[in-house]
Symmetry: D2
Subunit: 347 residues, 4 copies
């Protein structure tokens, strides 16, 4: 098999590190370029000793220059850059014939005005928004297969959308009653020298943050709205908890009048019974991050409370896996016609 020549742009953070972990041993990948302004000139295993002796780990970081990347023959680039920075290099790489799988927020929204509202600056490439495909494979397989530019979903959005989309599509719940509480591991905050992310500050600590309008709300509400066929506005409260990685999300919403609780399980089964990376825990199943860390799985359980008429959806994923790098590789497999589980068979 010819392996796909692949680049990772911005590979020195936690998402980049997870992409490296997955792609260094992916049977269909030949890693030809990795970039990092800070680490240019060093090899992968110098920067990440964990990868020493991995095949390909002697590859050296280069600067994120589009021509240099294209010169390696790369057919596709994963972008693990901050939002606002990714758009320019994405355009440059598309122009040079690469496919782009962007893990930033830059291409997740269809509406540049919503981007500006949530991200605080004008969108850097509004003309590309129409083309970009929101890369949730379970929801958009054919679009992803045909895409040139993928906007890989955020970690929180994935954990919230996956259980909710089937219920909204079938009109089982009242979208105005949705409340989502998420707890995320610290890697979700990125790899940056910041006092609030120190071990001593995060260990033995738990707290909400970013209320009431976390940036991820924009893509969550966009996708929920597509599924519901109407505008959706929800409450979303993220929390930081002391684990390295993993997100657990608990979402509550009122069942529509007359909807029997069993319809919840049936809708999830219908949507995901053949999905490679969704594991349904059934009624009463409480998803636990410890079962999904370092995998591309999302586990989903649910419960119904007849006292309040609410359904309780419980999902768990690895914020770096199904919430970022794993899902991006899942899109990659679709784009290049590989087996869906290639490079993702980790337990």
């Amino acid at each position: 098999m010819n392996r796909i020549k692949t680049a990772i742009v911005g590979a020195s953070g936690y998402t980049g590190m997870e992409l490296l972990r997955l792609l260094l041993t992916h049977p269909g990948v030949e890693l030809v370029a990795v970039t990092s302004r800070a680490e240019a000139g060093k090899s992968l295993d110098e920067v990440f000793p964990r990868f020493t002796k991995a095949p390909g780990a002697r590859l050296e970081f280069i600067l994120p220059d589009p021509d240099a990347i294209a010169a390696t023959g790369a057919q596709v680039a994963f972008l693990a850059l901050p939002h606002g920075v990714a758009a320019d290099i994405a355009r440059a790489l598309l122009e040079r014939g690469l496919k782009v799988i962007d893990l930033s927020a830059d291409f997740r929204l269809r509406d540049a005005a919503v981007y500006e509202e949530f991200y605080g600056h004008a969108h850097p490439a509004p003309d590309l928004l129409g083309e970009a495909v929101y890369g949730l494979p379970e929801a958009r397989t054919p679009e992803i297969q045909a895409a040139r530019l993928i906007a890989a979903p955020g970690c929180y959005p994935t954990s919230i959308l996956m259980p909710l989309l089937p219920l909204l599509r079938e009109n089982l719940i009242d979208p105005a009653t949705i409340v989502a509480n998420s707890m995320s591991g610290v890697s979700g905050a990125g790899r940056k020298a910041d006092l609030t992310l120190l071990y001593v500050e995060c260990n033995e600590s738990a707290r909400a943050y970013g209320v009431p309008k976390h940036r991820h709300l924009s893509e969550i509400e966009q996708e929920l709205g597509f599924a519901a066929g109407e505008n959706v506005t929800i409450s979303f409260i993220p929390h930081l908890i002391p684990v390295n990685s993993g997100i657990v999300t608990t979402t509550t919403a009122k069942l529509r009048d007359g909807v029997p609780p069993e319809a919840i399980g049936a809708a999830l089964e219908k949507a995901y019974q053949d999905a490679d990376f969704v594991r349904l825990l059934g009624r009463g199943g409480c998803a636990d991050t410890k079962n999904v860390t370092r995998t591309n799985f999302i586990d989903i359980g649910w419960q119904h409370d007849p006292r309040t008429g609410r359904v309780i959806l419980m999902s768990a994923e690895d914020n770096l896996g199904k919430g970022a790098g794993g899902q991006a590789v899942q899109c990659f497999n679709l784009i290049f016609g590989l087996s869906p589980t290639d490079g993702l068979q980790n337990f």
Copy 2:
């Protein structure tokens, strides 16, 4: 000052250990009896090496015999026993003239039928329910001062009731829209040899549990109902996270029509501005467990989301402190007319 002769019944769990920590150095307390079936005959410092060289730490555990406890001259007993077990010994100690501060669930509910519904067995002492005072000091100071039998609130209920009670009393929110998500440290599950509580099982893990009808819902809804003047039914989802102690709770609810957001802050200020153990973080303040562990404080912040019309309440406490042992000592200080902060000045 004459120190109050004090007993702790059931002192070998985490709540008992926290009571010991507080009472061994409390200036108004003379610890005269500690009981434990498992540890009878051993001294406090043998069982809990942390207390070695504390004043009084050579005291020996005895069996939980009411006559033996009374014979020590104890004026008051803290009960840190499982629910269903506490009631009998509470009655026996009351009959022997002691005051009783019970940290189990046995006397928290006014209605024996609700107890049976949530705890699965008939209430062991329904005749005492009328007398017991639910020991939330900020809500019932005079009743606690006069009480013979205190039912110290549960850890989750304290974190949920404290921010909600003032809002319900002033009719600012719609009780039918309340959703509370709590994250608790592992000590909340007790000190018992159970595979699911092992370090390796809990570390790097986060999950919901006990949905949809955790036992603590019964007392939460009872107290919310008293404040609202009507029956209240809420959604409550507890989660287990890898910290030793600490609970952070995020509660959302819809503001009543026409209520301005500032009314939330004003109601909290009015209720708690003089409270010794409540710290108001104001609008946008995100309570963090790391600021309250090993203290008797509860920190409360709030935010309003104009997009959804919901208020977001964020509270943090130590489940063993304000959620259990600290609050029980706070009641003790009230009963015996001591300074409110005696024995609780920990930071």
Copy 3:
């Protein structure tokens, strides 16, 4: 390729779980039997939800009956049983024509009297001790390839022996001066309901234990003695630290008179430069468990202190990986002539 029919006997502990993780996706393995007295009748994914949707995870646990295991056509069995229990079933499986890779301590010692001294009971199968091969692949490749019965080394011994063996073989250090301090994650203590292993007891805790004569000393000193050509007696102090898995060991010893420090690095290079699972960090390299968890690598760094004349050896491995399951799979690959890294390419 025909895959090797493989059994795991005693698969419900942490070592068994790691073997499962490795073997479920090993390209050369067909898992045909897993046993557990406690879990018989349940499937792998019921007991370990993490493995849900792994190939083969619907396999059901059976009782550890040698005939039943043999009836599955198993060619080889991994034993993850307590010491004293493994020997009988090992014999029964050998008699039925299986190869046996035992992860218990039962066959690690050549001398049944030493076993009795350290383990407190007579050896259950002394006649098999002569045949068993101590399964340290870097030290005994040909013997392992030819073996019928492998005694996979203990976790602490692996971390101590790997850096020391080359130095003793070349007579660079004085064995009477060896002091080894190891820090192990909590999974090393096993998966058992024990108060001392609770999350709350282990988190924020660090301590030595098992001094002065931990059971692993017996195999450590045996193997060091073989390398030195004389009896060796060392100090070994294990510590428990709050990580799920990983061992870091720091070993100090005096250089022989006249040995230049560079001889240390040279001896390590000579021994391990072609070793697939040893990563030499060089002089000053401080091995970190975070780089080896969930891998089969052992990282080794060293330093010399001219002030004291001592060499400092620093090694890190995953106690469940190179210290147990990974190393057992490494032996398996040797026995069956597979590629050394099959099933072990994890990063």
Copy 4:
């Protein structure tokens, strides 16, 4: 009682925070000044929300100006500053009549040349070295009582010196055979924005660092030399482990010929039986950090290995407590004639 007017200079790190925690509720202290370049103008509770509602927590940080500090009437200043910075302000404060308790390394060594060797720059105030008293209260009570300038010992040195000093004074062990391995919590590395101290980098990680010549070796060997009556050179290997605070140290050394093991226990008893903050665990006692965190205790256990002739000393302390802030307050109590346990009765 007149409370001592007290200043803390450099109060925004972890040591400063622990000093604040202890001094805010110390019955003999009136905190009159706290300094921090970064936080000047903010109140204590703004910077450290944990201290909100503590008596005195509304005090504002000022710049570290000696005249401004003296103008508050401060009688004594604790310095929690980096080494090299403390000396100048110490001199300035001494000249203004304050007593100084310095927690940096600046005054711990008697010999300015050793300081330069280990710290890499000339000593900033060599003329003050003769006057400074190494503040290990159990070893130098009268000198501390009379001192104007205290050099509070380092965290690692305290954990190593306390068990060793009595054995060296009585000539029970051979100092040339001493090997000390310490494991420290992450707060020991300070509160600074540094990638290597991030939660994700430190969690699930354990490693040695700073070998072979950590700076603390200089004061360790100085003090061991005083006790032994000869120059002492030892091996010391510090490790970083994922706990917030706490140090556990394991030290091995050969007993002198003919010394019976019981002499170890006897020497420790003789030295420490009346010490307020030393808890002897006896033969076989394995000190655990979890029993000493947030206290001023050091727990010491020991074992003898007849196979090697080595004694094994196991000590545990809180690196911020007995290893820093607690010990400094212990010195303070001595200097001002307060009860030894004032402000330090924490469990």
